[in-house]
Symmetry: C2
Subunit: 333 residues, 2 copies
């Protein structure tokens, strides 16, 4: 569990795109995000208050979150100086970077000396059990994709936010670095040992109130040969009551796999539903979330109407239209 | 790669069942297995020559293989004495035990001093890549099961042995501890990090001659919620040309999952084949391997005939009947 609130560290990010993680945190948890820290040369701006470490301390910040993708994978000397200073001032630091904070001798030493915590959210922190498949109380929704990176996390966060607006019981359950930084807890599923993947998902989504919904962050795709095993473990460990199909219609091929084409939404439904019903016989496919960012508004509306007609399920782009109809579909179950 | 030949260490095994690993090595690689080493109180006997360490040295043994499941997970003082002596005499030691040889200070020190190798085959030794899904040359056969522990390893080993008898190009590719100890190399797939599972299977089964067959050891089951992600990675990383369905018809429920019933062979076929065809559009289900150990000979023959009629595929118990018809089915592809 990462302590909040956060100071979002943008470092010397060359542009807005490099601060996608910070943007995600600010978009979904503005109440956690009291300020941004930018170094000379930073080309990004979240639109939140610029703060020094001292100002952040005064504002009650507990954790500095590295919200920027670093170039070349290195933690630069310019960053290191600020990060050490933050640890000396009593801040924790959280990071989803490939190179771990704990492997930087200066940062590790400073955290030890000052009793502060380095959260490397790419690294599992718990000894997850082997899945036991026992039916859990409460409801679970899982977003699955025709491909990787089609908007599964966005869809889950949007449905969770909509349920919160309606004062319903709902929790977003992250399974990747960005999601964990946004909510402050979760399981970095792609870094879990194979035998414990499904057990880690059971651990992430324990028994809950009968009217509580977990929105489990999806990973990979049953049709993406590099990561399909992770998706499978999410479906069987998550034992979802509801599946949302996620799609990005303008892809020419599967992400990173030039020889592979995306399945249709109908294929994904027909493959995923029997698999999900192994773990939860009552599971249903309830809606479709389409990432239409590469379409015009008119194209998007037309495309969504076509999908809705063909599949007989609500089809929305939650970024354009909100997730209200997807939440309605859950409640109609 | 574990150096051969082996001395099979049975320790103080209370009974034959505790030496299943040694039995598997001796059954499938009798040429590797020049002797057994038994301690006082050992209740098992493989039927191979008893040897002291000195005799094994004289016979050219390179590696002492721990072929016994230890009680309580501890390496007992009685074992430790012999193992240290073996390292001092220049033997390597290989083990699939949960507690690692390398974590025993005396063993680690002795191996360092004497320049010998401790092979803990439960631990991955390579940095596996992320799967790229590129089509590889050569042919691959994968055994998949309605459940765990239904005879997938046995089936693959039997098909490989049959192909070797016919002087065909064939390699058994182990993905579990016992298989790795039997052949001396492989990937302990259940211990691989999630993101690299499919890549590890690609690594295990590289490009080969067009008429060469890899027999990939199956793991778990698409229907076993604890391990289905591992099975999925095997199917997509292995990109098999042929699937063999494996089944044990007397199970009351899925292994370790009292609430779950086994799928039928037809369900397994219908679930697995479209998934396999994502990675290899030419994949076919070619035969069925049934573990009939809990049936009489007459029951087994009748059951196999029934399955064969229903599924329209050769159905055999390779333990009773050999794997000849399964190999014929591969060649008919």
């Amino acid at each position: 569990m990462i302590n909040t609130p956060y100071l979002l560290f943008l470092g010397d990010a060359p542009d807005q795109l490099a601060t996608k993680v910070a943007q995600g945190i600010y978009d979904w948890r503005p109440d956690y995000s009291v300020g941004q820290l930018r170094l000379p040369g930073c080309g990004a701006d979240l639109g939140v208050k610029d703060m020094s470490l001292a100002q952040a301390k005064a504002a009650g910040v507990k954790t500095l979150v590295i919200g920027v993708a670093n170039r070349g994978g290195e933690i630069s000397p310019a960053w290191r100086k600020v990060l050490v200073e933050a640890l000396e001032m009593g801040f924790d630091i959280a990071s989803g970077l490939h190179n771990l904070l704990r492997n930087e001798p200066e940062l590790y030493a400073a955290s030890q000396t000052h009793g502060t915590t380095l959260h490397d959210v790419r690294v599992p922190t718990a000894a997850y059990p082997i899945a036991n498949g026992v039916k859990r109380t409460g409801k679970r929704c899982l977003a699955i994709g025709t491909d990787c990176s089609v908007g599964k996390m966005y869809t889950g966060l949007a449905m969770d936010a909509e349920m919160n607006r309606r004062a319903m019981k709902s929790t977003f359950r992250p399974t990747g670095q960005t999601g964990i930084l946004i909510t402050g807890a979760g399981v970095p599923l792609d870094a879990v040992i194979a035998d414990f993947m499904a057990g880690a998902v059971e651990y992430l989504t324990p028994d809950n109130d009968p009217d509580h919904w977990d929105h489990i962050e999806g990973q990979g795709s049953l049709y993406h040969v590099s990561y399909s095993g992770v998706t499978m473990a999410l479906i069987h460990g998550g034992q979802p009551d509801a599946l949302i199909l996620c799609h990005e219609p303008t892809r020419k091929h599967m992400r990173g796999l030039p020889g592979y084409t995306q399945p249709t939404l109908a294929q994904l439904r027909d493959t995923a539903l029997p698999i999900a019903q192994v773990a939860n016989p009552d599971c249903q496919v309830v809606g479709i979330s389409v990432n239409t960012q590469h379409m015009s508004e008119a194209e998007a509306i037309e495309y969504l109407a076509g999908v809705e007609g063909e599949m007989g399920l609500p089809a929305v782009d939650p970024y354009r239209q909100g997730a209200g109809r997807l939440v309605d579909a859950l409640l109609a179950l």
